[in-house]
């Protein structure tokens, strides 16, 4: 979603900025990294950073361009959205990438910039801007999934600090994280109004135990996290006690937008004839060059059209947001449609490859085939996390019907 800032006048003519960005990238981007991915931005945990990667991250961090629109006083780039778009175009042009990402950039930073004190921003934002610190999200609990407001992790008031006890789950990247932003209960007598937003400074401190959860895909990007008598100073409270639900759901908006962006990137990734080519490669083409299996072909066509419609909807929503029409109604459907397309595509991929699309590891399967299996399984999560398809449907229904029988 574009913000009002996107309509701001740039601080200098865009052409001037474009040349400045191009020159700086040329001077700083290590050519060896051309067209490489951004390890830090993924959920799969850190790869060992090469010297070139460290150099590039440090350069971008110092320049503030990893978080280009954040304020310069906290280590951001201080750019307008228009300039940030130009920067992004120039990075793409040079085969470069933004090496600074993760939950700190996508969710926590924007939220703290909105709700934090100046001291909190000074303490936490620069490290995020430099890509020095990994944050994880302490939200879900075993009995608070879709019903997030049911969290029970308790932060007991001990005068100058809180004593935190409880169990979180689905802590993304918990095993690699340095710090955690968490929803905790400071008042057991109220549901929503008893929730506060608290920062855990050290995920390696005593009393913090992190257990990776083994997923059906064979990955373990999430953890169960146990807090036992963890001391947290009171200055780590963001906003007021009881304001956690408001701040926490604001953060979820940032998450949802980044997931919609994910949908967008999925739409881009999936664009073209990828699945069609795969079908012809594995299943053959008929004498007219069409995918041979007519039944499969008819489903691929529908999928490709669905994806095209989704890409056009993302474009429409972005244009709506940029104009003065306000947020588009279309944004509420992005999560579900993105999930459906991702999952349909993975199902088609597995079907096309037949038994080869179900290889787990070892000999007899190409890396693309093993990857297909894993992506298919991992993809089952996209309709569950970040607000399940069912919760999104509740939200849409509330919007259109104006009422709900729960929540």
């Amino acid at each position: 979603m574009a913000t009002a800032a996107e309509l701001d006048a740039p601080t200098k003519p865009l052409d001037t900025f474009r040349h400045e960005a191009r020159d700086w990238i040329e001077a700083n981007f290590p050519p060896a990294l051309k067209h490489a991915g951004n390890a830090m931005a993924t959920i799969e945990g850190p790869a060992d950073e090469s010297a070139d990667e460290t150099a590039w991250r440090t350069a971008m961090g110092k320049k503030g361009w990893g978080v280009p629109t954040w304020p310069q006083q906290y280590g951001g780039g201080g750019l307008t959205s228009a300039e940030a778009r130009v920067l992004n175009e120039e990075l793409g042009r040079a085969g470069a990438f933004n090496p600074i990402g993760g939950m700190g950039v996508m969710m926590f930073g924007p939220t703290l910039l909105e709700y934090g004190t100046d001291a909190q921003k000074q303490k936490y934002i620069p490290d995020i801007a430099m890509g020095n610190v990994r944050w994880c999200q302490g939200y879900s609990e075993p009995n608070a999934g879709s019903d997030l407001a049911n969290i029970q992790t308790f932060a007991e008031d001990k005068g100058d600090h809180y004593l935190v006890n409880g169990q979180k789950t689905w802590t993304s990247g918990g095993q690699w994280a340095d710090k955690c932003f968490a929803l905790v209960r400071t008042d057991k007598s109220q549901k929503h109004a008893g929730i506060s937003f608290l920062l855990i400074d050290d995920m390696h401190a005593e009393g913090v135990e992190v257990r990776p959860i083994n997923l059906i895909s064979g990955f373990s990007p999430f953890c169960e996290t146990f807090f036992t008598n963890v001391k947290v100073p009171k200055e780590n409270l963001v906003g007021q006690e009881g304001q956690g639900w408001t701040i926490g759901t604001r953060l979820l908006q940032h998450e949802r937008n980044s997931l919609s962006g994910g949908g967008g990137s999925a739409a881009r990734m999936n664009a073209g004839n990828g699945i069609t080519a795969l079908a012809k490669q594995y299943r053959g083409a008929d004498e007219h060059g069409r995918i041979k299996d007519a039944d499969l072909r008819s489903r691929i066509i529908r999928h490709e059209m669905d994806q095209r419609a989704f890409a056009l909807t993302l474009r429409r929503a972005a244009l709506d947001a940029k104009s003065n029409q306000g947020p588009s109604a279309a944004t509420s459907i992005m999560k579900n449609v993105g999930a459906r397309i991702t999952q349909d595509r993975a199902e088609l991929g597995v079907e096309i490859m037949g038994m080869n699309g179900l290889g787990w590891e070892g000999e007899g399967f190409s890396s693309e085939e093993i990857n297909q299996t894993r992506v298919w399984l991992w993809g089952k999560a996209v309709s569950i996390y970040g607000g399940s398809t069912e919760i999104q449907n509740n939200v849409i229904a509330k919007r259109i019907l104006g009422m709900l029988d729960h929540q």
Partner: protein, 355 residues
């Protein structure tokens, strides 16, 4: 909603207001029950003419406003919301055929009258119950056109026909060599069989022009379908809020909520593809054909879903002629069949993309 310029916003708002005030669904019912020979609401058409909507895609040089297809689609969408029985969706593409055509005489003779609503032009393309532009047998010899066209919208009363022959597109004006056979269809609109027997014809262009015009007509039809789907959804939505069963409004039943959410989701996708097709036409993009097939196929499935759910979610009264659900259902089915159904456009899209 596409990003609109000021003219487009005004036009859309004006069309919406006019449709709601002057052409509600009851106006369609009245037309249906009166069953006029022309099969449309001629009083409303005269107002439309005065508002200049007949000229939205007519070049300014010939008295039109030349606002383009997104504008025409916005207006037709508003009319579609209320099932307005108007020839506008036929007139626009027919006017474009003349405007893009090679006959200056045709332009001079007709575009001005079309822009003011004084002439109703329509397309006569198909020769069977299923859209199939590859099998056109109509032929022209010595300036005389012969062939039988089926299901010609507004065929009962149109003043001029843009006719597809095997070798391209022609204009037939007047009644010489033209015989009309009325057809009574489920949507109570005009879909006549037109027999051309050595009718004097003016050549407009080749088969490439035929395809361009059919694509434009399809995009405008998709806009009508979008308006219908929107309104069918809105009416159902309102009904669920008011109908009480088991002591609570139907809108509180989660199974129904999720079905409405599903429809809403598909409607948003439909809006995107329909607007993209109209914009592609205005931008003169090279992939208009793909954009149009995407719009008709995706939009067609959505209107099918929404119009069927409209009947089902209204329960028993949805089955009665007194309620509007049946009207949307019938018109939806006719539009689904016109200019190629969803399956036709899926296949066309697939071939254009080499699937």
């Amino acid at each position: 909603m596409a990003v609109l310029n000021e003219e487009q916003t005004m036009l859309r708002d004006m069309a919406r207001e006019w449709a709601d005030n002057e052409s509600p669904v009851t106006a369609f019912r009245n037309m249906r029950n009166a069953a006029p020979a022309e099969g449309y609401d001629s009083a409303a058409w005269s107002e439309i003419g005065q508002m200049g909507w007949g000229g939205i895609v007519v070049p300014e040089a010939y008295g039109g406003s030349d606002f383009g297809y997104l504008s025409l689609g916005l207006v037709v969408e508003q009319l579609g919301r209320n099932l307005a029985a108007s020839p506008l969706a036929s007139v626009g593409p027919a006017a474009t055929a003349i405007a893009m055509g090679s006959s200056d005489a045709a332009k001079n003779d007709w575009l001005g009258k079309i822009a003011t609503g004084d002439a109703v032009a329509t397309l006569a393309i198909d020769e069977g119950p299923v859209h199939d532009p590859a099998t056109i047998a109509t032929a022209v010899a010595d300036g005389k056109l012969s062939g039988t066209k089926e299901f010609v919208a507004e065929g009962d009363s149109a003043d001029l026909f843009v006719v597809a022959a095997a070798d391209g597109l022609y204009l037939v004006a007047g009644d010489e060599g033209v015989t009309r056979h009325s057809r009574t269809m489920a949507d109570a609109r005009s879909h006549a069989q037109i027999v051309f027997d050595h009718a004097p014809a003016t050549r407009l262009g080749g088969t490439d022009l035929t395809q361009k015009i059919v694509d434009r007509a399809t995009a405008v039809l998709a806009a009508e379908m979008l308006g219908m789907a929107e309104q069918a959804f809105a009416v159902t939505n309102d009904y669920l809020k008011t109908r009480v069963q088991f002591g609570q409004p139907l809108s509180t039943f989660q199974a129904l909520q999720h079905r409405m959410a599903k429809q809403f989701t598909e409607l948003e996708l439909m809006r995107s593809v329909v607007e993209a097709a109209l914009e592609a036409i205005d931008a003169g993009r090279s992939d208009i054909d793909q954009a149009v097939s995407l719009a008709k196929a995706v939009g067609g499935e959505t209107l099918k879903l929404v119009s069927r759910e409209m009947v089902q979610l209204h329960g028993g009264i949805g089955m009665t002629d007194e309620y509007d659900a049946g009207l949307y259902l019938k018109r939806a089915a006719v539009l689904e069949a016109m200019w190629g159904n969803a399956a036709y456009h899926r296949e066309r899209f697939a071939r254009l993309n080499d699937y």
